[in-house]
Every structure is written in C-alpha cells, then in structure tokens.
C-alpha cells in the first residue's frame, strides 16, 4: 500500500513537472516565432527544467561558424524574470543581441569559431519557489 502511494505520488509529481515544462516550451516557441519569419529554422529539440530564484543552469550546444542563432527562453510562471546568455568554451560571453519581454527572452549569437558553447539560464526573480523554463534555438 505504502509502495503504491509512493508510486502514485511519483507519477503525480512527474506529470506536474512535465506539464510546466510543456507550458514553458510553448512560450519558448512563441519567443522564437518572430525569427521564423526571418528565415530561421527552429529546432524541435529543446532543453527544459525548473530552477529556484537566483539559480542558474548551463546547457551545452554545438554551434557552427557561418550560422546565426537565436536562443529563445520561455517560462510558465507569470511575473518571473529569466534571462539567457551564451558563452564560449573559455567562458567569454558571445551575445550579439538580446531581447526580453515578460515570459519571453532571447539572445542572438554569431559564432566566430565552430565548437562548444554554453547557454546559461538564470532566474532573476519569481513569485514561485521553483520556476519552469524551456529553451529552444533557431538557426540560419
């Protein structure tokens, strides 16, 4: 009985987590939509998770010199302020342009080298303890 309850709780928590990542993902795609009109291809794959206030998460991306990228971040939490910045493998910022509005935030990158880059997501403030986020990127 106890095991069943634990299992049910785990299922419930799992389902809740997926729900807010899904919502955040919708906002991330919304953040990317203006760039589709500018000829960018938005990837179907995405990063996502949840963070506490002032927490950061780094995700790795393989970028190619010659391409232009937009990294687009969304959150499901109204009133939360998040940002994304991109750094090269030595930890130097490579942001070319950033935009932020409400739950949407985006950064443009034009890699000068082909290689590994790190997109760092930060939750600056949020009305909730944990803030769901999702990050997609577009390229052309």
């Amino acid at each position: 009985m106890k095991k069943a309850l634990v299992f049910l709780m785990a299922l419930l928590i799992g389902a809740t987590s997926w729900a807010y990542v899904d919502d955040a993902l919708s906002f991330a795609y919304e953040a990317a939509s203006p760039y589709v009109k500018k000829g960018f291809n938005v990837r179907e794959d995405a990063w996502g998770g949840d963070l506490g206030v002032k927490d950061q998460q780094a995700v790795q991306a393989q970028l190619f010199k010659g391409n232009e990228y937009w990294f687009c971040l969304g959150t499901d939490v109204k009133g939360a302020v998040l940002s994304v910045s991109v750094y090269d493998s030595k930890g130097n910022i490579v942001n070319v342009e950033t935009t932020r509005a409400g739950r949407l935030s985006a950064v443009r990158v034009e890699p000068q080298r082909t290689g590994t880059y790190y997109a760092i997501v930060t939750v600056h403030k949020s009305p909730q303890e944990r803030t769901g986020w999702a990050l997609v990127y577009a390229y052309k």
């Binding site: 919304e30 953040a31 939509s33 203006p34 589709v36 009109k37 291809n41 938005v42 990837r43 179907e44 794959d45 995405a46 990063w47 950061q56 998460q57 780094a58 995700v59 790795q60 991306a61 393989q62 190619f64 010199k65 010659g66 391409n67 302020v81 940002s83 910045s85 750094y87 090269d88 493998s89 030595k90 930890g91 130097n92 910022i93 942001n95 950033t98 935009t99 932020r100 509005a101 409400g102 949407l104 985006a106 080298r113 082909t114 290689g115 590994t116 790190y118 760092i120 930060t122 600056h124 403030k125 990127y137 390229y139 052309k140």
Partner: protein, 270 residues
C-alpha cells in the same frame, strides 16, 4: 488564427521590448563552477545546421551525395535504430538536393523502420506530412518534419523505456551526416569548411552514451562496438582546441571511417 496572433504579439513585444529587468550579464563566467550534470547533456544538431554552412561556403552537388540504397534492415534492434538514424539524415541530404521523389521514398522508409521497433505511431503523421510537403516542394517545412520525426521517434522510444535505442538513432544520424560533410569538404578543401568537424562535445557525448548503455545486449552488439572504436579514432582527428586547423588528410580519414561504418550499418541485413 491564434497562432498568427501569438506570433504577431511576440514579434511586437520582442521588437519594442525595453528590458524589464535590465541586468547586464557578466562578460565572462567560470564554467567549472557549474555542476557536471548540468552541462553533461548536449542537443545533437541536425545535419542541416551544418549543410547550410556548406551552402554558404560553396555550391555542393547534393544530388551526388545521395545514396542509391537506403540499406537493409535485420531483426537486430540496434541495427534498425542506427539505420533509422542514417535514413533520417539522408532525408536532410535529399532536402538539400531538392529531390521530391527521394524525400518521399525516405519518408516511407522512416515509417517502415519505425514499425520494426514499435514506434510507428509516433511518426505516422510526420511521414504523411513529409510526403505532402515534398510534393509541393516546401523544403523548409520538410526539413522541419525530418527534425520532428527524429525527436518523435526518440521520445517514443524513451516512453517505451528504450532510451538506449534512442541514442543509437542519434548516433546513426550523426555518422551519416559526418560522412556527407567530409565527402563535400574533401572535394573542395578549405580550413574554414574543415573547421565544421570540430565537434569534441558531441563525440564525447556519444562516447559516454555508448559506454553506459544499460541494455546488455545492445552494449555488446557488434555494430555498437564498431561505433565505439570509430568515435575513439575520430577524437584525435577533429582538433583539440577551437580554431585549430583540421588538415585535409584528417578529413579524408574521417570520411573513409564514417563511410565504412554507414556501409556496415546499411548492409547488416543483407
């Protein structure tokens, strides 16, 4: 209509947005302060991310890169997953070649291979959409559908508890993509185009995944073992540091190794 409205609102806000939280990000960060698990995973780029750079650098003959045969499948799930990855990668080549018949053929093959590993449902709509969009030569949408098919297949496998198999689809696609990339670079070598091979994080990511397969049968599969050796052999050839020149001999060696591996994956059932 709601989608257009959302896009319009997003475009407006992003265009005129005054930063609501004007905090300038640091110019430099110490990446070693981030926990290893946070930066362990990497999104695998789709072949078209590289192919469009090649288009900017020259005018590759994509049609000549297309394979006549998409390979044969066996009853071996590892081989089918790897083959599926190579076939989806072929889809991106066919899009570059703007060959509707080949794209439709590949769309159908994706469906057949997905059926063999019980994830047919996940790609049924994608397959139909690939055919429909290839018919009207909407190449941007076809490219998106192949990306989507790849993600849907992997998600369906993960849902079935087959995460290992999902990794093999990615690896298969990457190997075929690298075969095509090196084929084009070696025909018209420049250090700029060779730099596209500098993908240490990806090679490391695949190596770790293959070294940690939980399914014993997959872990000991001959093709998987062959790919482990391939990744180990490629690692020293793709440049240690960013900006390091990758010589033409390395490109040729990587091409031969990936070509032979794709041939092995494709002929397993022959």
């Amino acid at each position: 209509m709601p989608i257009i409205l959302n896009a319009t609102i997003a475009a407006y806000f992003l265009a005129v947005a005054i930063p609501l939280y004007a905090q300038k990000p640091p110019e430099a960060v110490d990446l070693s302060l981030f926990p290893a698990q946070a930066i362990d995973d990497v999104l695998v780029p789709v072949p078209s991310e590289i192919f469009i750079v090649l288009d900017k650098l020259g005018n590759p003959n994509w049609r000549s890169e297309l394979r006549d045969s998409l390979g044969r499948q066996s009853g071996n799930r590892a081989q089918v997953a790897l083959l599926l990855g190579t076939v989806i990668a072929e889809g991106f080549v066919a899009v570059e070649a703007e060959d509707p018949e080949k794209v439709k053929d590949i769309g159908r093959r994706v469906l057949t291979l997905s059926k063999a590993i019980n994830v047919e449902k996940a790609v049924l709509e994608r397959s139909k959409s690939i055919t429909d969009k290839a018919e009207v030569k909407d190449w941007i949408s076809v490219r998106k559908e192949f990306d989507g098919a790849l993600q849907d297949v992997k998600a369906a496998m993960q849902e079935l508890g087959d995460d290992d198999l999902a990794q093999l689809v990615s690896v298969g696609g990457w190997i075929r993509g690298t075969e095509v990339l090196t084929s084009i670079i070696r025909k018209n070598y420049t250090s700029d185009s060779a730099e596209l091979l500098h993908q240490p994080a990806l090679v490391n990511f695949f190596t770790k995944k293959l070294d940690n397969l939980s399914n014993k049968r997959l872990a000991e599969d001959d093709l998987v073992e062959r790919i482990r050796k391939l990744l180990a052999a490629i690692t020293p050839l793709i440049g240690n540091g960013e900006g390091e020149v990758i010589p033409s001999e390395n490109v040729t060696r990587i091409h031969k190794m990936t070509r032979d591996t794709v041939a092995a994956i494709s002929s397993k059932g022959a």
